[in-house]
């Protein structure tokens, strides 16, 4: 998928653990792990809002678009 989730990068910048972020965002660590590893198919606005609030960042810091190699626009 060309959407890259950079939650782990932001977590490292804010020196926040997965369990801590999960409790602040009010989702399970398992679900946060799915998001972090890029296995998630979608993200709710409410979850994105909570993540941005907990990490004090913008949605663009968490999500990034990278065009897939070999795919024409």
């Amino acid at each position: 998928m060309p959407i890259i989730v950079n939650v782990d990068v932001m977590m490292a910048k804010r020196k926040m653990s997965l369990t801590e972020l999960a409790s602040k965002v009010d989702i399970t660590p398992a679900n946060l792990s799915i998001l972090k590893t890029g296995k998630a198919k979608a993200i709710r606005f409410a979850t994105l809002e909570a993540i941005c609030k907990a990490l004090d960042c913008q949605p663009g810091d968490v999500l990034e678009y990278v065009a897939e190699a070999g795919k024409s626009e």
Partner: protein, 213 residues
């Protein structure tokens, strides 16, 4: 404290299909035991045939008392039983072929019941749209398609066996219901295949829902 488990429809159906599967297996075993003369006087085979139009019509009294009132016998379903003096007499290709196809129909029936049991087991434990259910529904559709074909072949074999056994006095034939079953099976199979596709969409939706954070 342990609470009493609620009785839901999937739970009831799960156990209904489990019981039917077990009963089907027992019936199949009894059938085979009977055919090979293990628990009876001697080996035999049995099946349904129909008698084809007898040559002479039966003349009956006319309701108004004028003219003839004839009744033609255009087929009547009969259960025939071909008994054998010993087991070796049964071991001929046409009899064994009949036993094979007749019991294959039983096996397919049991297979369908077992798949139904597994589907309701999944529903009972709260897994509504697993891909496994879709696969099982597809297998049921395939079995429903093959089931009447196997029955049709078995009926033809029995008609052929009876035809020879009766020494051409009465013409025995396959009952017409087996031909109708072929069409019905095909139609039913298509409906079940469509249902499997609905399940496929359902499982995709469920997977998407599970992976939405």
């Amino acid at each position: 404290m342990k609470t009493a488990q609620s009785i839901s429809l999937p739970k009831v159906l799960r156990y209904v299909f489990l019981c039917l599967t077990v009963l089907g297996c027992i019936a199949l075993l009894l059938n085979l035991v009977g055919y090979f003369g293990i628990a009876s006087d001697g080996p035999f085979i049995r099946g349904w045939v129909t008698t084809v139009a007898e040559n002479k019509p039966v003349v009956l009294p006319h309701p108004d008392g004028s003219g003839d009132f004839k009744m033609y016998n255009f087929g009547e379903q009969k259960l025939v039983m071909v008994e054998f003096a010993n087991l070796s007499a049964l071991f001929q290709s046409r009899y064994l072929a009949y036993i094979l196809f007749q019991n294959l129909a039983w096996v397919l029936g049991i297979f369908i019941l077992y798949q139904m049991y597994r589907i309701f087991r999944n529903l009972d434990i709260g897994v509504t749209f697993p891909l496994e259910n879709m696969r099982r529904i597809r297998l049921i559709a395939l079995a429903v398609l093959v089931f009447p074909v196997v029955g049709y072949i078995a009926a033809n074999l029995m008609a052929n066996i009876s035809y020879v056994a009766q020494g051409h006095q009465i013409t025995m034939a396959r009952p017409p219901i087996f031909t109708e079953n072929l069409l019905l099976g095909g139609l039913l199979s298509l409906v079940i295949f469509a249902l499997a596709e609905v399940f496929k969409s359902g499982s995709q939706l469920q997977q998407e829902q599970e992976l939405t954070i």
